[in-house]
């Protein structure tokens, strides 16, 4: 295949994949919600879960975005240095987003800052957002598509703590964010925590944390322990679906971390709502693909 053909093929694949992500939840999220639903016995919590599952069925039946807020679209790319379209991905993503906005359809969610005008096609300065990791020597690329809705983006917060605050300070920060702003962000939530050196490094890591499949654990045993402690602790607070109280608050808590300056502990929280629309697709060098997040889905 010529590079031009490859570009067209990938644009088409990504257009369809974006639409899929808008309309169907990934397998891990759907499975987790099914588990959490069974634990609820109050009439309000049950009413809300019934509406949630009915909504997902109807989105499939009617082929529509399951939530109206299809977000600002973000791509997290882990691309091989030998991936043939490395230099074309910005064009491919922009075009795929424009096309998916038209055909899905997606809501117009890109407001040009300072101009304060909605661009009407979900592209704008630096949007769709792209985050890059380059994998040496590899020919394929793994791409996460994430639809960052407004409601679950609002609680996002980061702070640089002094080391005296310790990991206790990290715990306090996570609890404060989730029990205040998190309540309005469509719980049960997927909570991402970045523990790092500076405000922006922690923030990026906290977002990457919610892109991990639910229930995967941080490789360091202490961080993995802290994930479980936070998850159990937040669930004991009993925020429930839509903040109406119930048996759980979160679908999970994931931590991502980096080394830090001895004088700082930076902590950030990113939140995913129950309708956590992310998808992962692997594109090989010949533009064939495998969908990793939605088993059995056809584009």
């Amino acid at each position: 295949m010529e590079n031009n053909q490859k570009k067209r093929s990938l644009t088409d694949t990504m257009t369809r994949f974006i639409s899929l992500v808008a309309k169907r939840l990934p397998d891990d999220v759907y499975g987790k919600l099914e588990q959490l639903r069974l634990k609820e016995d109050s009439p309000l919590a049950r009413t809300v879960y019934d509406a949630m599952f009915r909504n997902q069925e109807m989105a499939q039946e009617l082929d529509r975005p399951s939530c109206q807020d299809t977000g600002v679209i973000q791509f997290f790319v882990r691309a091989g240095s030998e991936f043939p379209l490395l230099g074309s991905l910005r064009d491919v993503f922009d075009e795929a987003v424009r096309e998916a906005t038209r055909v899905s359809p997606l809501r117009h969610n890109a407001v040009e800052t300072f101009e304060e005008k909605n661009t009407g096609d979900n592209t704008g300065v630096r949007v769709p957002w792209i985050d890059w990791d380059i994998i040496p020597g590899q020919k394929s690329a793994e791409i996460d598509v994430y639809m960052a809705g407004g409601g679950c983006t609002l609680p996002g917060a980061a702070k640089v703590l002094m080391p005296a605050a310790g990991y206790e300070g990290v715990v306090q920060f996570v609890f404060d964010v989730i029990t205040s702003y998190g309540v309005n962000a469509c719980p049960p939530l997927l909570v991402g925590v970045g523990v790092s050196t500076a405000v922006e490094t922690a923030a990026v890591l906290s977002k990457k944390a919610i892109l991990r499949p639910i229930g995967t654990r941080h490789p360091h045993p202490k961080a993995a322990e802290m994930e479980i402690l936070l998850e159990k602790g937040l669930n004991e607070v009993g925020i429930g679906p839509q903040g109406l109280t119930g048996a759980s608050s979160v679908m999970g808590v994931h931590i991502e971390s980096s080394a830090r300056h001895p004088s700082t502990i930076a902590v950030a929280v990113s939140v995913g709502c129950w309708s956590h629309r992310r998808g992962t697709i692997r594109i090989d060098g010949d533009m064939t693909y495998e969908i990793l997040s939605h088993k059995g889905a056809a584009l």
């Binding site: 309000l44 949630m52 109807m58 529509r64 109206q68 117009h108 206790e168 309005n184 009993g238």
Partner: protein, 201 residues
């Protein structure tokens, strides 16, 4: 028993309702969110829709052209708290009786609902296709210069819900009560975790 409110809503239709009750709506529902509120309250612009006795929806939908009119594709509630600084005055100026959104609102809205007899209710967030299928027709659209999410979409709805009352006419605020409960619970839970995460030695 399923309780249904019909627009125009009168005070006596809602005065007996209490935070935590579930109702449904028949009639007119108008989307109105950040800039719609800002234009009325901060800039003193007249709303192009008479909301007296009507219901508003904090929502920015996905719509598409269908012939001469519009089709509602997907519409779910947005975070109501963003409208908190405007809502008391909004209720006073418009005579709106039902505000539908997501999550709780604050003391200003509670005061507006108590004084002028109005309700805030939540539609389950993220359930946008369910809500879209309960809209019979988009009757018209105003302020289209604001773009798709912020325009005022005037909708006729049937059995729209479930709507969980979060603020009633008597000063009750369901989310405030819940939040106080969360704050009370979280202290001891965090103390327990603090003891286990003393990783800096």
């Amino acid at each position: 028993m399923k309780r249904t409110l019909k627009t125009p809503i009168r005070n006596e239709d809602i005065e007996s309702l209490t935070a935590g009750d579930i109702v449904y709506l028949d009639g007119t529902l108008v989307t109105c969110r950040d800039v719609g509120h800002r234009r009325l309250i901060e800039y003193g612009m007249d709303l192009p829709v008479d909301l007296s006795g009507m219901a508003i929806f904090h929502a920015g939908p996905i719509v598409r052209k269908a012939g001469e009119g519009w089709e509602m594709v997907s519409i779910g509630p947005t975070t109501s708290m963003r409208m908190e600084s405007y809502e008391r005055q909004f209720i006073e100026k418009t005579g709106v009786k039902l505000i539908v959104g997501k999550g709780g609102m604050g003391p200003e809205t509670v005061e507006g609902c108590r004084r002028h007899k109005a309700l805030h209710a939540v539609f389950p967030g993220g359930c946008a296709v369910l809500a879209a299928t309960q809209i019979e027709e988009i009757e018209r659209v105003e302020w289209q210069d604001l773009g798709m999410p912020e325009s005022l979409w005037v909708c006729r709805v049937k059995s729209f819900g479930p709507l969980i009352i979060s603020i009633d006419t008597k000063g009750n605020n369901l989310f405030e009560r819940n939040r106080a409960g969360f704050d009370q619970k979280k202290g001891p839970v965090m103390e327990e975790i603090f003891r286990k995460v003393r990783y800096i030695k």
